[in-house]
């Protein structure tokens, strides 16, 4: 292609985005757009898959049948989200195997929040309320992002995430209206999940790369710090209803800004976890790798079987 042709294509591409039209897999797109989308969507897909594990940890121990069914359904939804997102990713010409390979070798990232252990039942509430809450804030803008398959996947994901968030909040509410011990359990979960949830909104703006480009492609609409403020402002009143205390002594309402001021985030911890040294990084990856390796013979069998079937069909047809 001549330089001029590429330039024309780029122009058409950018106009489309400006007009809020979707870019579809078969459309021409700059290589960087493709790569950025593979990176972000696969990271998102991996987060759903790894995210099944901390909650999966409580399926066998859910305290009532109702909660067990809800938890199973929730973790299953996450698998479903992973599936749409991997499929969306595959439209950009990368295979599921390659994506898994990147996850299993540690090349691809996933949301660091899932590297914390779920140590009590209340964590099922806190994850729904806080982690899904933060995820929604990250994700709602993506429902109108420029890449069609991603935007459509996110519409579906966001709908289910809101449901999960309400469910999580309801778990917290039940605990807070329960015995003293249950309330303590809820407070303890809040204490442990609060700061990691704030970190989920990403590094502070000055430490964040890609922001400008992502804004242009509508992969981002607000900066990390704006999103974080939004999350805090929306969550504090919810904590008040629960009667729980946010574990931040610097937290207070600022009349002037109309927002909550909050304390210093421990970014050292954030980067430690991102770099693979969180409490459960090793366990999470190991679990996925084990599942993948233990399943190899099953996938091989399915493949061999469908090849045999196909061959028989051809034979019959001829």
């Amino acid at each position: 292609m001549s330089e001029q042709e590429v330039k024309n294509l780029e122009e058409i591409f950018e106009q489309k985005i400006a007009r809020d039209e979707k870019i579809e897999p078969k459309d021409w797109m700059p290589e960087k757009y493709r790569k950025t989308h593979i990176r972000q969507m696969s990271q998102h897909a991996h987060s759903e898959i790894i995210g099944m594990l901390p909650e999966g940890n409580w399926i066998t121990r859910a305290p009532s049948l109702r909660r067990k069914v809800a938890l199973l359904a929730k973790v299953q939804d996450e698998a479903g989200h992973g599936l749409y997102l991997y499929s969306a990713c595959e439209t950009l010409g990368i295979s599921r195997e390659e994506l898994y390979e990147q996850l299993h070798t540690g090349k691809a990232k996933y949301s660091s929040i899932f590297n914390y252990p779920t140590v009590t039942w209340a964590d099922m509430g806190a994850i729904g309320w806080l982690v899904d809450g933060a995820a929604i804030i990250n994700q709602v803008p993506l429902c109108s992002t420029s890449f069609g398959p991603y935007a459509r996947a996110m519409v579906r994901v966001c709908k289910e995430e809101s449901f999960h968030q309400r469910q999580g909040y309801e778990i917290m509410l039940t605990l807070c209206r329960g015995s003293e011990e249950q309330k303590q359990m809820a407070q303890d979960a809040l204490n442990r999940w609060w700061w990691p949830s704030l970190m989920m909104l990403g590094p502070t703006d000055d430490a964040s790369t890609h922001t400008e480009q992502s804004m242009k492609w509508k992969l981002k609409r607000k900066t990390n710090d704006e999103l974080r403020q939004q999350f805090i402002d929306q969550t504090i009143p919810q904590a008040d209803i629960l009667g729980l205390t946010i574990p931040d002594k610097d937290l207070k309402w600022n009349e002037e800004t109309g927002h909550y001021d909050f304390g210093e985030i421990n970014w050292d911890e954030f980067w430690q976890v991102v770099k693979g040294h969180g409490p459960c990084n090793k366990e999470r990856l190991q679990t996925r790798v084990d599942a993948w390796e233990n399943g190899a013979w099953v996938r091989d069998a399915a493949m061999a079987y469908s090849e045999k079937k196909a061959a028989k069909k051809v034979q019959k047809a001829s």
């Binding site: 898959i49 099944m52 594990l53 999966g56 399926i59 066998t60 121990r61 859910a62 305290p63 009532s64 049948l65 109702r66 909660r67 067990k68 069914v69 199973l72 359904a73 973790v75 299953q76 698998a79 479903g80 992973g82 599936l83 991997y86 039942w121 778990i171 039940t174 605990l175 329960g178 015995s179 011990e181 249950q182 679990t287 084990d290 599942a291 233990n294 399943g295 190899a296 013979w297 099953v298 996938r299 091989d300 069998a301 399915a302 493949m303 061999a304 079987y305 469908s306 045999k308």
Partner: protein, 251 residues
């Protein structure tokens, strides 16, 4: 019919779904593919849904002030009366599928008959569950075929699992005293009548899967009498943990 016998009869049905659902729940997030993971979680969900219907009914029948969760979580090991088959561990995917396959074919025929019960609540549960179980049966039978007629390795593995678990199939048809009573009353299902069909259906799938039907003389039993395998205790330790550790609380 005496309520406590009817309850016992229903527990004999419900416990199978409860324990199998629990076993499948262990696997969520660990499947060989994402699609299989989702499908197996789905089966688990269906089974727990059925369990809730059964236990809500037993709670209603019970003289004491009991809830569905009391039946699910607060019995002692010797009081669960599921068959041994469903409590067998997830040794590998072959065992998981073989267990599912051997149970689904029974479950399907059983529910099909249960539609003719004189107990209207059981009829309603059976009708609703049958659709689900018909899907389970297709899922597990398809996988038996894939594994049996897949690779050398998968054929070997699934045959081992089938051979190993076959000894638990006879118990599916055993009748406890409560079963006999319920059959007499026209509420329960005479499992003798579905046994031939079960063997026929299972054999058909095995043949298509190029697998051998085991030829066993000795079978295992015990679950229906509450004498479980040593795997059961550990399953219950996990399942009952919250209810035992925090008695009498709402969640």
């Amino acid at each position: 019919m005496q309520k406590d016998i009817l309850i016992k009869y229903i527990l004999g049905i419900a416990d199978n779904s409860l324990i199998l659902g629990q076993r499948l729940g262990e696997l969520t997030g660990h499947g060989p593919t994402l699609e299989v993971d989702i499908a197996m979680t789905n089966i688990s969900l269906d089974l727990f849904g059925q369990v809730r219907s059964y236990f809500q009914y037993t709670a209603q029948l019970s003289e004491e002030d009991k809830t569905e969760d009391d039946f699910a979580f607060l019995r002692k090991e010797r009081e669960y009366i599921n068959v041994l088959l469903v409590e067998q561990p997830n040794r590998d995917f072959g065992y998981t599928i073989a267990r599912q396959f051997l149970f689904d074919h029974f479950h399907f025929l059983f529910l099909n008959e249960l539609q003719n019960s004189k107990d209207k609540t059981l009829v309603a549960i059976a009708k609703k569950s049958l659709k689900e179980v018909s899907y389970h049966r297709r899922f597990s039978s398809d996988w038996i075929k894939r594994l049996g007629d897949g690779t050398e390795e998968s054929k070997r593995k699934i045959q081992i699992a089938i051979n190993d678990l076959w000894r638990f199939t006879e118990e599916l048809f055993h009748q406890t005293n409560a079963d006999v009573e319920a059959i007499k009353e026209g509420i329960g299902i005479d499992t003798d009548k579905i046994k031939a069909k079960y063997l026929e259906n299972v054999s058909e799938v095995l043949a298509e899967a190029m697998l051998e039907k085991p030829d066993l003389k000795f079978f295992q039993e015990g679950g229906k009498k509450g004498i479980h395998s040593e795997h059961m205790g550990y399953l219950l330790n996990d399942m009952q943990y919250m209810q035992r550790t925090y008695p009498g609380m709402k969640w």
